[in-house]
Symmetry: C2
Subunit: 430 residues, 2 copies
Amino acid sequence: MNQTAIARSWVEHANGHRDFPLQNLPLGIFSRPGQAPRCGVAIGDAILDLEAALAAGVFEGAAKAAVEATRGGALNAFFALGRPARVALRERLQVLLGEHSEHRAVLQAALHPAGECTLHLPARVGDYTDFYVGIEHAKNVGKLFRPDNPLLPNYKHVPIGYHGRASTLRPSGTDVRRPKGQTLPAGQTEPSFGPCARLDYELELGIWIGQGNDMGQPIAIGDAAEHVAGFCLLNDWSARDIQAWEYQPLGPFLSKSFITSVSPWVVTAEALEPFRCAQPARPEGDPQPLSYLLDKRDQAGGAFDIELEVLLLTERMRDEGLPAHRLTLSNTRSMYWTVAQMVAHHSVNGCQLQAGDLFGSGTLSGAVPGSFGSLLEITEGGKQPVQLASGEVRTFLEDGDEIILRARCVRDGVASIGFGECRGTVVGAN
Amino acid sequence: MNQTAIARSWVEHANGHRDFPLQNLPLGIFSRPGQAPRCGVAIGDAILDLEAALAAGVFEGAAKAAVEATRGGALNAFFALGRPARVALRERLQVLLGEHSEHRAVLQAALHPAGECTLHLPARVGDYTDFYVGIEHAKNVGKLFRPDNPLLPNYKHVPIGYHGRASTLRPSGTDVRRPKGQTLPAGQTEPSFGPCARLDYELELGIWIGQGNDMGQPIAIGDAAEHVAGFCLLNDWSARDIQAWEYQPLGPFLSKSFITSVSPWVVTAEALEPFRCAQPARPEGDPQPLSYLLDKRDQAGGAFDIELEVLLLTERMRDEGLPAHRLTLSNTRSMYWTVAQMVAHHSVNGCQLQAGDLFGSGTLSGAVPGSFGSLLEITEGGKQPVQLASGEVRTFLEDGDEIILRARCVRDGVASIGFGECRGTVVGAN
């Protein structure tokens, strides 16, 4: 990597930071003890308080208007401004936080150690939609039910998605209460009620919608990328036993709605620009997407190369000081549909998207063991336990288990960036 | 009916009004030309402007606090106050609008002809959930696919529901743009894209959530009715051809999310109290609900006796002055699960409900022809056209068709009340 080409920050711990160097600058909503939530920017291990920076007079013009739109404890209004506002803010922040900054002294006073701050959801989510674009996950799960024909006939034509629950979206770090519900125990004909016995994680990319559309006015595929504000990690916690019993004929409901965790930093579309890649070629024989899903620019650069990782830390591992166990190493290149295709499809019927809506990608598994994005896949439905260095085994999650999602973008010649973490610890049912 | 027992209003057109006599007093959000939306109460053919009445000084104590919570153009804060606030407001309004009112003069000035007002959605909907509790609908639809086994094994154990789209909820009177989407034409193996050819209505009861719950704290069945603020009519417009192709494995998505229409008046739980009835006995052999869904008081009086009606008015019928064609005459007694059971089930996994959330009941069909709540059922999937007095036939809806939902509660000795209408006219695809 050509380090000389990579701009440096006067915030020394940002240079070479795993997640938040000067090239990332993700936005989030944070608070300090006793203070109302406000917008901040992650830089190294610190958070720049944008409101304090605004008060210090370091913004003007479009960047100032952008910062003003981040007020109020949620980024919806900022997202609605679209790309020009994000770019204006980003360019100004790169100057302000760059090594040649003329405002270092006043900005230093607006920096807070991230460890002293609480992070919140970055926006008020109007609607949350969960897609199913991870084709290897769809195949792996399909194989459990239909070994000879894992993918349903619509999969390669339709970016499958369904509506999720917005009220239980929570930021990383929120405990995951084991849900109770109805299940049909193996071999029984009558359901039982009790705590979920097959609690799982799902590794997903989260997509924050920027500018929306009016009802009845679809977003064309060529415009769709412009409607995306940024990205996060998303854990679509799933109660597999509840899901199996409830999901016919209308889809998952209580098996998912108890909580969905998201990483708090919005990694902007601009920060991810260097990590765009061509949509992987469809295998020989796969159908051509219908024209409303087809755009040359999207095919050429609408996918992302983002490494994804899932770690498990049990209570015993924490107590014994053992390192977390890596469950999954995967990549967003396994998405069969691009984010632009998801946006175009979602709105093609006239459905209104709004700034601050959230999409989940669906579980992003790879094709080989080690890359599966859920325990359902890793353990083949609970049949192949995972062995841990602590001497424990897992088929599904137990109380005290913590799941940690991470993401990282690496490419020669540019600074690597990451997403921060999406963590959640399972606590016992009430 | 013993008319002498029925209290009268000084608003003369309210007495004996089909929908809005003194005994109903539903709340809604209305606006007059050039004015911001505000809360009103339907009384006969008029709307009482609650803000103007408040300014006139006719409220005090709990009723005043209740009216203050209705400000801001949405009823969420009022819903969150729960039953005591609704009861205080209702009791005061029945005095103020009753024939012995001492405030007739000032209130007269706060009354507006309903026809001169625009009605809006009554609340900002955080999450919208569509249930499937109309068992006859489930059977009728199931028969089209599985003649020998129409109900899935979970139906009589689980109040089936799924998440719907909140952003495209619209008040009665909003045009319904025919959606475009992917369909798999009969006999084809590759999908096509174009305007929906099988556009349908679904007759549903809408349920407005009052007080919510914290995440992780289920609402017990015995408390569940207390969390319901009121009711409306809901048309879950459905694109059957899009639905058939997209819904496996995660449920309906774009086939529903283009628009969902709701009647604008919130008929309160208190106004419906006289029309409660016992939950219809489960047929011999049906399973007992699991204990988290079972409550004696709910079994004894948790169902509702509400007549439901659907009318179709085509463009030609409008042009020729023909009366609307009745497609459906049904009743909420066909609900296999009570509203309390829906609330208890929805939250049993810890899912958070919030004031202003909306539930749909699912299509409320009866068991016999004439009572089916969708064209899918009436026409047996498009095979048996409906003959209209205009000489037209319909299998599914055509551009220019208007669907009108109505509901009415009738019981000896008490004033009948209604819900007003939920209307929508189909307009051609873009």
